[in-house]
Amino acid sequence: MLFSNERVATFLNSTFEPVWESVRPVPIVRIDFGNGHALTRTLHGNIASYVCTADGLVLDVLPGIYTPEGYQDALQDLALLARQCQRRDSAARAALVRSYHERLAVALRNGQDSPRLSAMLAMVPVGKGRIERPVERVLAGKPAGEQPAVETPEDLARWEALVEDTRLNEKARRLVIHEHLARTGLAAPSALSRWLYREVLHADLDDPYLGLGKTLLASDPFAREQAGH
């Protein structure tokens, strides 16, 4: 699990004041094979990582799951954004964050990789090695810097799925988030979460079946008959 990764946990503990919360119970599927074997999995679960100011306003959101290095890199940038915001009054902070989202949305719309925040803010120059962060390497189709030991084809498939998820999150999903936050400005997580889960993560929290109703129930040939009873 991401938070069992020593490096990620140390980074989070030293850089943020972390808290987790549940938005709803996760669907769990249990398949009993009838021979004493049973399989338990979660279904359609999803996550979001908000970086917020001390007064509870969202600076940015990382949607979904990331590779450990991709997660750390993306959060490093957001920690930098947070430090820049601390030095500004509320009006200047709002303007900075809006500009940040607008610029990143433009970059992603143009098919570019997300530029490093340090470059955007004209901070102390960042070395080339640091610029070629693992997530950008992933986006460019190069292997991510940190890859766990892959012992089975299933491990490889899971790692490749995680890399692909990171790519999707950094490209398509972040674009939707940047466009939305550029429009709405600073807001509390409670004002964003339902929109985020519905529009970005495609898991409508107000739908008891999380959008899976048609898929799960439509193929039941006896559904109408049973509904009549």
Binding site: E6, P18, S22, T42, G56
Partner: protein, 99 residues
């Protein structure tokens, strides 16, 4: 009748009364005895099911991150430390195995 004989007769009567009372109870509520038998039969099955198909989502440690107990607590800590808040939102619970 000697005192010893009287004592033995009284003890015997007491046992007989107790036994008859138990029989009477079973006659009045046969399910009481059958409940005992049913429980004895079902317990091994329940133990087997508990072992193979978890009925609940067992608790686990939520990783190695030092999580604040609430968003408000994280905000208060952020005011003191100057660090931003990281709110990790999810379906399910981070302190459960299936999440």
């Amino acid at each position: 009748m000697s005192r010893r004989m009287l004592y033995l007769v009284m003890a015997g009567l007491a046992c007989a009364v107790g036994l008859m009372g138990r029989l009477g109870l079973q006659a009045a509520d046969p399910s009481a005895a059958s409940d005992l038998r049913k429980r004895a039969e079902e317990n091994p099955t329940k133990l087997l099911v508990r072992g193979t198909t978890p009925a609940s989502n067992p608790a686990v440690a939520p990783g190695k991150v030092r999580w604040h107990p609430s968003f408000a607590a994280a905000q208060a800590a952020a005011v003191r430390s100057g660090k931003p808040v990281l709110l990790f939102q999810m379906m399910g619970r981070l302190d459960q195995r299936f999440c």
